[in-house]
Symmetry: C2
Subunit: 494 residues, 2 copies
């Protein structure tokens, strides 16, 4: 007899590049987002939640990142079957939707409009280790404020955010630069060819990795990289390359020295002078608010990839060292960044609207706090009320209801109660602080047994046999003292 | 001369059926989600956040709602250009992803697995007024627990959630039914034809709207509906229809009377008897936990549309009356629902896994709380520090920094400061409680002016000219007493 072919079962898998978050992975992030939202709110920013889906037209078809113009979005066409409607897409960041929202609602919104937004964004990129196609962003932007007072406020707010989520002062640094200074340097170099300008910008972006001599070589003839491959240079003469190197190495002992160095790097460029003046003003405004160079400093090596920045740019770095998976010391690096982009709204309205903002990488920040052991998440499991006697489920439910009403996280074991060992294994897997046991004998005598699982685990780990005997981790308490006993255990005073 | 055609500007519009949420619309919802998450957590449920994107294969191609099998999801095919990869889609609910997650991670998860999830879901439906294609769900489910203790726990938890978000006892009712009872009734009717069974189920679902006589007519020959159209009936004889009507009208004065009525409606059906026994057990368990019929009651008229329910089903209704937009009294209706579905995980693993859960409609709940005036959201705008003299921006920034460090929501006016009236209009638009004014004269004398905008608004509304003069809403305070003065104003004691 021929076998009947069954339809194959669907695979139980996340799509490639996507992942699930469990328990404290979810709650730690939402706690962090709440803390950051609190700071944003205090600075006068209002919440905005736009939809995850936008028209491709409104988003612009591509990511604005100059390095990867062809990286895409997840998009599809509206219209049943015929596929003849609008193209829709998942947002790839929170800034493009802000531009759309501001253009759409500008008559109802205050000007300047300070808004914050937090939520997932999607990138249709090749997934890789630790590289996901859905991740969180957490942004704050001010639209309609042309002065650098708006930028410096955002830098101060970023500093407050980092400290409130648990990065102490000294363990981070916000580095500020200005695109106009960079443009001034390019002007001073006499570079007019766009592709050559782009090549210079890409080279500058490598300063952190290859250092001064590396950049010097890459601006000239090229160099061998670490893998032994020869990387072609931009082809500038040493004289032409000089302003770039002066710019990159212009950081002085203090802000005024750095500003002086920058002034000489930009030569007679007007836009460059404007940029230096803006940096000087930001430094003064931040100092007036009490944000010194231990928190925020001018650093000309900050470039930031996005092509759309037009003025101040900034980046927050964690400065402490940690060990990577191979035991090598390394710095954690950038956890937030942003800057001024004055042309995004113009796409819609034809009018230039000044805007500036910041995006905090919450997942990276969480990873950093974990690496430093600075997250104390409430990972405690529930008190588990075990089931000795299925017929008396109502009793167990009334015990657990009493615990919950006292604000104690608790549950009845709802699996098959036959094997009591499985119930204790379950409590262990849940990280339960205590198990409650009540059989027929206990019920008759009006008592319950309470097993202190925290203490039990400690004793099992460290105790000698004598100590084990002397310090029992299981107690019999009158039924009406159960809540009090559990509270003692939770307070570590079992 | 021919005009040069410019590329048209993109439209600044949300895609049809999507919307933006501003300010308190966002924060009120996140506050509610946090409150509900707190209750779920106390009941032992752990957070889960799966990705918004799933494979179409894992989701199943269609919504499980029997009434609308062709309503779709937003889907697209992976693979660059050639479109030859997996089909991906946005999740349409949080239950289908849970089944996938449980099947994928079941060896690492505790059994039973209690999880909660909250977030947006997407439906590719025709948008309509108040009907959006992205909305929030807020679910809790227990996977791997076969007994109705799990279902009754979820009903108790739902009751706690409603009360903690601000629906007082008496203003809601959780109505419980059991699919097995309904199946027993269909068995007692001798209905074996699937399409006829479906027609009967759809008719039962109309009981709330058309009442006993309406259902009687629709089970028989049909009836004229309110619009005058004739609706064909199922074509049952009055005798055949009788068990359905007995079932629908079986609600008695108390649970035991209802259960008795149900027992007679199901005749000798075994599955029906199982269903009645489960309802009886749930009633007993809920009573033991202190949840009386003022909160949760058996109501056989609850059907719930989804085809996948296999046992207990439940629905939370708000019972207070309110006026609709035309001034007619109406009840607010359902805000949450759920039930037992034992076959969802089986799609992946081939093994039946018992599961039960609830979904709370947070947006409807928020609308209800607004309608009853029970939301007191912190909609207060920031204190606005006005700019009299752009050259002294650093002073204004130091004032605002001081306010923020004292925990007071505050900002400097960052628009064009030339027109002072615009600054006060801005403060008004933001709902600011106070404006701070400091010009050259104030700076010289070490004072600031504080305008109490709350009091100012009240005075402007109610006061006579005399009162206006006697109760000024603007004060001069020494610079170092600014924070204290603002605190007084915020406390309503300006």
């Amino acid at each position: 007899m021929a076998k009947v072919k069954k339809a194959p079962r669907p695979k139980a898998e996340t799509p490639k590049g996507f992942r699930d978050y469990f328990g404290t992975q979810v709650t730690e992030r939402s706690d962090m987002l709440r803390t950051i939202a609190g700071v944003y709110h205090r600075y006068g920013f209002d919440a905005l939640e736009s939809s995850a889906v936008e028209t491709v037209e409104a988003l612009g078809k591509f990511l604005p990142d100059v390095d990867r113009p062809n990286e895409g979005v997840f998009a599809w066409q509206e219209g049943e079957e015929e596929g003849n409607g609008d193209w829709l897409a998942l947002r790839y960041d929170l800034t493009a939707p802000l531009a759309r929202v501001y253009a759409q609602h500008r008559n109802d919104l205050p000007t300047p409009y300070r808004r914050y937004a937090m939520g997932p964004v999607w990138r249709n990129e090749k997934p890789g280790p630790g590289r996901f196609r859905q991740f969180y962003q957490c942004d704050a932007d001010t639209v309609g404020a042309p002065s650098v007072a708006a930028d410096s406020e955002i830098c101060a707010m970023l500093s407050d955010c980092l400290e409130e989520v648990g990065i102490p002062r000294g363990d981070y640094l916000i580095r500020v630069n200005n695109r106009k200074v960079l443009n001034g340097v390019l002007e001073a170099m006499g570079l007019t060819d766009d592709s050559q300008r782009d090549a210079v910008l890409r080279t500058i972006d490598k300063f952190d990795k290859v250092g001064e001599n590396g950049v010097r070589a890459l601006l000239g003839k090229g160099r061998l990289d670490a893998s032994g491959a020869y990387i072609d240079g931009v082809g500038l003469s040493p004289e032409q390359a000089e302003p770039v190197l002066a710019f990159l190495t212009s950081k002085g002992a203090d802000a005024s020295e750095t500003l002086d160095n920058l002034r000489s790097a930009i030569g007679t460029s007007e836009v460059g002078a404007e940029g230096v003046a803006e940096l000087a003003e930001m430094a003064a405004l931040l100092a007036a608010q009490g944000y010194g160079t231990d928190r925020i400093e001018i650093d000309p090596s900050v470039v930031r990839g996005l092509g759309y920045y037009t003025g101040p740019v900034f980046e927050a770095e964690l400065t402490f060292e940690m060990l990577d998976e191979k035991g090598r010391k390394r710095q954690f690096g950038s956890v937030a960044g942003g800057g001024r982009y004055d042309d995004l709204v113009k796409r819609f309205t034809g009018q230039s609207v000044p805007a500036t903002g910041v995006s905090i990488g919450v997942d990276r920040l969480l990873a950093a706090l974990h690496a430093k052991g600075r997250i104390t998440s409430d990972a405690q499991g529930p008190v588990v009320v075990t089931v000795m006697d299925r017929e008396h489920m109502a009793d167990y439910q009334s015990i657990v209801a009493e615990l919950r009403q006292a604000g104690i996280r608790a549950e009845v074991y709802l699996g098959n109660p036959k094997n009591f060992g499985n119930q204790l294994k379950y409590a262990d897997k849940r990280g339960s602080p205590a198990a409650v046991i009540a059989g027929g004998d206990e019920r008759a005598r009006g008592v319950v047994q309470v097993k202190d699982l925290i203490l039990g685990a400690k004793i099992a780990e460290n105790a000698t046999l004598e100590e084990w005997k002397e310090r029992p981790s299981q107690y019999e308490v009158p039924r009406d003292q159960l809540v009090a006993k559990i509270r003692d255990i939770l307070a570590g005073q079992g």
